[in-house]
Symmetry: C2
Subunit: 203 residues, 2 copies
């Protein structure tokens, strides 16, 4: 029987599996694909379509979006500015854990403020954060209104609704821009896949 | 060019990759291995040793512990009871995301309260939560004192220190118990690997 001592503990702690080793096991690098854009711009749709495509290429990827975050980890948060900021901070921290695990994590949140996105960007290495601006005129988003939120916002039922009664700060220099009113989902997926291959993140 | 419509969005949303599909890709099931026990009992040491072993078997696993949670996601939390509870809640929610991603996630936190562990247990399916009680007499933990925390607690520098000035509620019916003062790390790892194989979680 081995006696545990403090030094034995330190020895074991030194043998943790590194991010690099996990990436080698997966056969690809890990990163955050940070989708940002107005409600209805197609972030979640595009993220899930890309996730499916990555899955088919046997890549370890995962989508964080309102469905699995707002009802779970962040269910204690509302929509006032400090809560929005904390929402994005936690999403950034969870994304970082997935990057450590060797995954390509796709986050699909409006994330309207530049400072908050910048905060998330700084949590990981430079080449690990890829901001994807899903650009779409607010008129088109409102026409789509897949969740009926614009209708509610116009009635005043949702205060501080991004694009209507609260600002959306466009990315200044996003790694990728998708014009979702002009380009199909299929083409958008290919554009992002091409970027990931160019950067050597996937093969 | 494809026009996006609300119905097209719904179509795409329906094609999300399921947990089952991710497990199939990985070649094993996903679950939470929830290590609980006193400070110094060897939770983190054991979790990292097991993680290394799983990695060597090409299994997608990941350790959540103080190192990557307290300084990141939960750095806004202290050690008062409501913060401890929120700490465990968030760890449970993040673990659930890793389970959705098809990973075996190992959590190594004192998690002294039964109710909090029960809360985490209820976040996932019954067979996906495996509580591992790392049992060790407090006298032995204090002798090891790898982080010097017992010394500080005895001096009164850490208020409400589990096992000294705050309670540790032992698991009533944990899936696995490890007596870390009597069994080596290597043997403990084998015990857990055996359990995972018995349950069909790994092959």
């Amino acid at each position: 029987m081995t006696k545990h001592t403090a030094s034995a503990n330190i020895h074991w702690h030194n043998s943790v599996v590194t991010k690099q080793e996990r990436q080698n096991l997966n056969g690809h690098k890990s990163c955050i694909l940070w989708f940002t854009g107005l409600s209805g711009s197609g972030k979640s749709t595009l993220a899930n379509a890309l996730d499916k495509r990555l899955y088919e290429e046997r890549i370890n990827s995962f989508v964080l979006d309102g469905d699995n975050i707002r009802h779970g980890l962040n269910k204690d948060l509302g929509f006032k500015p400090e809560d929005r900021q904390e929402n994005i901070r936690r999403i950034g921290e969870v994304s970082k854990l997935f990057v450590e695990n060797g995954s390509i994590v796709l986050t699909a949140f409006v994330s309207p403020y530049r400072d908050d996105r910048q905060l998330a960007r700084q949590m990981v290495d430079k080449e690990e954060f890829i901001e994807i601006y899903v650009q779409c005129p607010v008129e088109e988003c409102e026409k789509r209104d897949p969740k009926g939120l614009y209708k509610k916002a116009r009635k005043g039922e949702i205060p501080e609704f991004t694009g209507i009664s609260a600002p959306y700060e466009e990315p200044v220099d996003p790694e990728i821009t998708i014009s979702s009113d002009r380009v199909s989902i299929e083409q958008s997926v290919e554009q992002i896949i091409g970027y990931l291959k160019d950067k050597g993140i996937i093969r």
